[in-house]
């Protein structure tokens, strides 16, 4: 039988050495794009039935249940992340559960690359490419936000204080990677209100 061969978006990138925060690709995450109306009770109930967690309704927040995490993207759009192996089943389950409800669930596990930044100063590294203020309490762990990053669109997820995941469309992965490698290069450290807590 012809076996499927898997290759992440950054499979051919140059390793990130000489950086002052660590950079690595997260390649095994599944993603589902879910559309539906936040005002539609049936929709919310069906989504919860499958995901076992309420869809977050507050802008820029996320909700977690076990290995499933749901990002708020818009009043009618969420991004669900899960182990890659579960994505297809989950999206089919969602579609089935949502039959008859105005909605759209698509498995988009391959659409984005995820780059994890870890270490002291990650927020500032990201702020070399975005005008969002990540240093002032508006972005506690769990926050998500879509943004313009360098020259591209990206989604930001603050995982922990010094851990940030950046989601970019797959075709831009190398660009984002190279940008971050340069921004995080040792010797170019820059902090914003470094003494503040």
């Amino acid at each position: 039988m012809l076996e499927a061969r898997f290759e992440t978006p950054l499979a051919n990138c140059e390793a990130a050495t000489g950086t002052y925060v660590s950079l690595r690709e997260i390649g095994e995450r599944g993603m589902i794009d879910l559309r539906g109306s936040a005002g539609d009770k049936k929709f919310l109930a069906a989504a919860k039935a499958v995901l076992e967690v309420d869809l977050p309704k507050q802008p820029r927040t996320s909700a977690t249940w076990g290995d499933i995490r749901v990002f708020w993207l818009s009043p009618d759009q969420w991004l669900i992340t899960c182990p890659r192996a579960r994505a297809q089943d989950l999206s089919e389950a969602l579609s089935a559960e949502l039959a008859g409800v105005h909605s759209l669930a698509v498995n988009v596990s391959d659409m984005r690359a995820i780059i994890r930044l870890e270490g002291e100063g990650v927020r500032e590294v990201v702020m070399k490419g975005t005008s969002i203020d990540l240093t002032h309490g508006d972005y506690p762990p769990g926050s998500v936000r879509r943004m313009r990053f360098a020259e591209i669109a990206a989604l930001l997820h603050v995982v922990e204080d010094n851990v940030i995941d950046i989601y970019v469309f797959r075709s831009y992965a190398h660009y984002a990677w190279e940008f971050l490698r340069k921004a995080a290069r040792k010797g170019s450290e820059v902090r914003v209100f470094p003494k503040a807590v």
Binding site: E3, G27, T130, D133, K182, S188
Partner: protein, 1006 residues
């Protein structure tokens, strides 16, 4: 004085005498100390001339103390790292630095261009508008080249800049510009309120001119106080300080740009990874402008001679760098501040006298000077300066306000002059975004008035010249700023230290110090030093009718040099005021524009150059294309493989090989860039009927249909195949370049016009790797990949699709064709794309499969007469023009663009229509974009009837083919038309159907 002519034995708060360094200036090695600037070290060496002026090439020395310097412009570094036009007063020396003077030939002290000075009488302001017109061709060939060669200051680097740059964003509640006592105090007061405070100063050391300011704060000097506040600030967690950073521009919504020179003072940082410059993009809640004031020169005859500097700059040379400006000087002033300079010189052992234009100077500092035995000449001006490369002597004359020329003069020997015409608040940033200013008679200068943005000015920037008032004002401003961003901010409770400072006598404006001989007769009273604009030039502009100050500026170039008139603009207004009898506010100021001081293009570009200049999008197969040696082509942001030449093969041969492989065997194309959009909802079909020109509600589930999209003007913008996945669910394909635009377009209509439609649109372009497997053997190749669906022509006909698996690969397969061959587009999740690509190639090997690129694709489709939006159309082309009338629904009442097709011009006669062309000579390939004419003439103009849109040598047909848009083309089938080419050649071609190959479509359906 030490062995070196001008370095004093002691003093110099900025230099470290234990760290001697050397640097080169115009090839000469000179000694210096760590902490010196180029200005201080060159002056210490005894060299005064540091540059030549723009137009007259007059020798010039240092005038200023910091970023206001307009004369001493220096080039730093060599080769790719050379940077021209830097201000000597701001360049921090490091060991081994290479510096050169500019705009002189052959040398600084002997410059041929100085002949212009001798002829200056013939070059008044704006003279070039009056001459150089005859003979006509001389402008381009003689005058302009000479002018260009003479103009310009330094030289650009010779190679690409090896250093890196970056941007950084920062948000601060309060941004304080300027780290003098005003800024430091305001920052501390704001910080006490618990808000985030960003303090910016362009110098390496905080304190502004505190060290050059008289008085005591508490127990110590003003400088001691500044240092103490700076230290406290440095320890606060909510304060960030950026030094060596210039706030260059203030923009809408309190956006501020600040330019940090990270490594210019220490190139070893570059080697360790630092960017050379960093541009800070600052969003401020409130801005406190504490940018200080700039001292202004006085316009007196030959006031530009090397050895004449601003009084504060002379003071700074002595106190900061331990450099004496000379041995015997004259301080020329109209205010009390310059007396500090006289006192500092006296203290340093330099002989000095004061010339004061005021009748009764009487402040504390004047008294102190008199008490020190300094000779003060009131009611006097300098009426003349002797010396060219150096000041040798001056003439001092009696003066009464308003006097046009002086009568009695006496000569006094001296070797330098320190001048002070008063101080101008640094209003630039206040004005960048429209702040209003008002004239203050006491200062004889403008000061901030009102602003619509959240910004306040304090200290000298606000025209507040006393230390005590500055501190009070700064505390209040800091507290108010904190309160304005955070209502709960606390006030700074610290007690105000007691301030003692000398009383000051009033300044009396002196815009023009008269000389012997009539006003403007031969003497040069420089207003704008760098651009060589004199008082006489300004007056001439007025007389010639260039009355508006903006006209005067442009006619004389006053204020347009690299210092943007920082020190000179107001003097110019003063001169204009005296010449016209209008008050200075009536004359008005020219517009302040960013930047405050020039900053590097490198910093503006930041890190987004080289590999990061505009992103390249890669498909999942990118690496394979690269390894295969593909020639790439940019398509939107994508890089697509154009063709894959093998060793020894040229591009044309490669393309022909790829085409024939598709026609005769099978080819594989990476089509992953095609836009893909999922559209779902009960109204999806109706919605698509609005978006496309043709009907989609009738499409059957499991089927594909080619659709056309217009904009509201009736012009084609995109096309592609859409498939119906379910009753309420579609998958749309768009062109590669159109994917994002079309997704946004659909969203826009749904959100803004048909808001009641229940439709969701989710772009999924990047989820899928998609390949065309095309050619007579395509089915056999896929068959080998273990499809779990029936591949037979009956079960899987043209324009249908399947969802299933090829072995372990989940796929969506669309039987659609852009090549005219039997063709399957196979989509698999992107992360599996490369695997499937390799598998298809392996399976196809026995059938002779070849990867083909975009050029082969384009030829293949042209052979079939398929259009490419963007090639056959150009944004002014309707579907009917390109012969796709059949796809423009007559049944639908409305769709985007329909109404515009009714406009008379779009419906009118003689529109250009798409046709095929066969040249008379089958080996002749018409050039791209060639125009056909109604009638060939000996020479242009000729009446054009249309143009080639696509043209190729068709390997399939063994002859050239072309498509063209020709006036009434469809009615002209069979007609032969002419294309006159460059060099007189005329190519003739016959109009035919654009479908050149397989007209009945048998191959597609095979």
């Amino acid at each position: 004085m030490t062995g070196k002519p001008y370095r004093l034995a002691t003093g110099g708060s900025r230099i470290d005498r234990t760290k001697p360094i050397t640097f080169s200036f115009d090839g000469r090695m000179l000694p210096a100390f760590a902490g010196d600037t180029v200005a201080s070290a060159v002056q210490a060496s005894g060299q005064r001339v540091m540059g030549r002026s723009y137009k007259y090439h007059r020798p010039r020395g240092v005038i200023g103390l910091g970023s206001e310097e307009m004369n001493a412009l220096i080039g730093v570094g060599i080769g790719a790292r050379h940077e021209p036009n830097l201000r000597a007063t701001q360049i921090e020396l490091y060991n081994g630095m290479t510096t050169v003077s500019q705009n002189r030939w052959p040398s600084l002290n002997f410059d041929i261009g100085a002949i212009n000075n001798k002829l200056s009488r013939f070059f008044p302001g704006g003279f070039y508008y009056k001459t150089f017109m005859w003979p006509r061709s001389f402008w381009k060939h003689v005058y302009e080249p000479v002018i260009r060669h003479a103009a310009g200051l330094g030289k650009a680097a010779e190679e690409r800049d090896p250093d890196s740059y970056e941007h950084m964003h920062i948000h601060a509640d309060v941004v304080v510009v300027g780290g003098g006592i005003a800024g430091l105090t305001a920052a501390e007061a704001a910080a006490a309120g618990g808000v985030r405070v960003l303090l910016i100063d362009e110098n390496p050391v905080l304190g502004g001119i505190a060290d050059l300011t008289a008085g005591k704060v508490g127990e110590g000097s003003v400088a001691d106080h500044a240092r103490a506040v700076a230290e406290r600030l440095a320890a606060l967690p909510n304060v960030q300080i950026l030094s060596r950073t210039t706030a260059v521009g203030h923009f809408h919504h309190n956006y501020m740009m600040a330019f940090e020179r990270v490594a210019d003072h220490d190139p070893s940082l570059l080697a360790n990874g630092a960017p050379r410059h960093r541009l800070w993009k600052i969003r401020a809640g409130h801005i406190i402008l504490a940018s200080g004031a700039l001292e202004r020169p006085i316009a007196f005859a030959n006031n530009d001679r090397p050895g004449i500097a601003l009084a504060s700059a002379v003071r700074g040379m002595v106190e900061r760098y331990g450099v004496a400006p000379g041995t015997n000087g004259v301080v020329f002033t109209n205010n009390d501040d310059a007396y500090l300079t006289a006192l500092a010189l006296r203290k340093a052992g330099v002989n000095v006298r004061v010339v004061d234009s005021r009748a009764r100077p009487q402040g504390d500092l004047v008294k102190l000077a008199l008490a020190e035995g300094i000779e003060v000449s009131p009611s006097s001006v300098i009426s003349k300066v002797d010396g060219t490369l150096n000041v040798k002597s001056v003439k001092i004359a009696a003066y009464r306000k308003g006097q046009g020329r002086v009568i009695t003069e006496r000569q006094v020997d001296c070797d330098f002059i320190a001048m002070s015409g008063g101080w101008n608040p640094a209003l630039h940033l206040w004005c960048h975004n429209g702040g209003k200013i008002r004239f203050d008679d006491g200062l004889a200068s403008f000061r901030p008035n009102t602003h619509t943005d959240a910004i306040t000015a304090v200290g000298a920037a606000n025209g507040t010249m006393s230390v005590a008032e500055t501190l009070t004002e700064a505390v209040a401003a800091g507290e108010a700023a904190a309160k304005s961003v955070n209502a709960k901010a606390k006030a700074l409770k610290a007690k105000m230290p007691a301030v003692e400072e000398p009383s000051r006598g009033a300044l009396e404006p002196l815009w023009f110090a008269p000389a012997t001989g009539g006003y403007n007769e031969g003497n040069k009273h420089f207003i704008d030093y760098q651009n060589d604009v004199t008082a006489a030039d300004l007056e001439l502009a007025q007389r010639e009718g260039y009355e508006s100050v903006e006209h005067t500026k442009r006619y004389t170039t006053f204020g347009m040099a690299t210092d943007q008139g920082k020190t000179s603009n107001l003097n110019g207004l003063g001169v204009l005021s005296e010449a016209t009898g209008k008050s200075i506010p009536e004359i008005g100021v020219t517009t302040f524009r960013p930047p405050y001081t020039p900053y590097s293009f490198g910093a503006i570009a930041g890190s987004l150059t080289k590999d990061l200049f505009l992103p390249v999008r890669r498909t999942p197969i990118f690496q394979w294309h690269k390894d295969k040696g593909a020639v790439f082509e940019p398509v939107g942001q994508w890089r697509r493989a154009y063709t894959y030449p093998t060793a020894g093969e040229d591009k044309h041969a490669a393309i022909a090989r790829e085409i024939l492989a598709v026609r005769n065997k099978v080819g594989l194309l990476d089509a992953s860039t095609l836009g893909k959009i999922e559209i779902k909802g009960p109204d999806a079909a109706e919605f698509l009927d609005r978006m496309y020109t043709n009907m989609f509600s009738t499409l059957k589930v499991g089927k594909c249909r080619y659709g056309l999209m217009m904009n509201e003007l009736g012009f084609l913008t995109d096309d592609g195949v859409t498939v119906r996945l379910a009753d309420d669910h579609f998958l749309m394909h768009t062109t590669s370049g159109g994917a994002d635009r079309i997704a946004a377009w659909l969203e826009e209509w749904l959100q803004t016009e048909w808001t009641h439609y229940k439709v969701f649109v989710t772009p999924v372009t990047e989820q899928w790797a998609q390949f065309a497997v095309a050619g007579p053997r395509a089915r056999e190749v896929l068959q080998k990949l273990e499809p779990d669906f029936d591949m037979s022509n009956e079960a899987f006909p043209h324009m249908s699709f399947k969802v299933g698996r090829l072995g372990g690969y989940p796929v969506r397969v669309f039987r659609i064709s852009f090549s005219g061959e039997m063709s399957y587009e196979v989509a698999t999740p992107a992360n599996l794309g490369r695997g499937l690509w390799d598998a298809i190639l392996a399976a196809g090997e026995e059938f002779g499969i070849e990867a083909y690129g975009t050029e082969a694709l384009h030829v293949l489709r042209a052979e079939k007469g398929y259009i490419v939006v963007g090639d056959e159309t150009d944004g002014t082309t309707t579907p009917i023009d390109v012969g796709l009338e059949g796809l423009v629904s007559k049944k639908k009442a409305d769709f985007i663009g329909k109404r515009s097709l009714e406009q008379s011009f779009l419906k009118g006669p003689n529109r250009k229509q798409l046709v095929g062309l066969l040249t008379d000579d089958p080996n002749e390939v018409l050039p791209d974009g060639a125009y056909a004419v109604r009638e060939v003439k000996d020479k242009p103009p000729m009446d054009m009837i249309g143009q080639v849109t696509s043209t190729y040598m068709s390997p399939t047909l063994g002859r050239s083919i072309a498509m063209a848009l020709i006036e009434n083309g469809r009615a002209r089938m069979g007609e032969t038309i002419s294309f006159p080419l460059e060099g007189g050649k005329v190519v003739k071609a016959r109009i035919v159907s654009p479908v050149f190959y397989d007209q009945d479509g048998g191959r597609i359906n095979a």
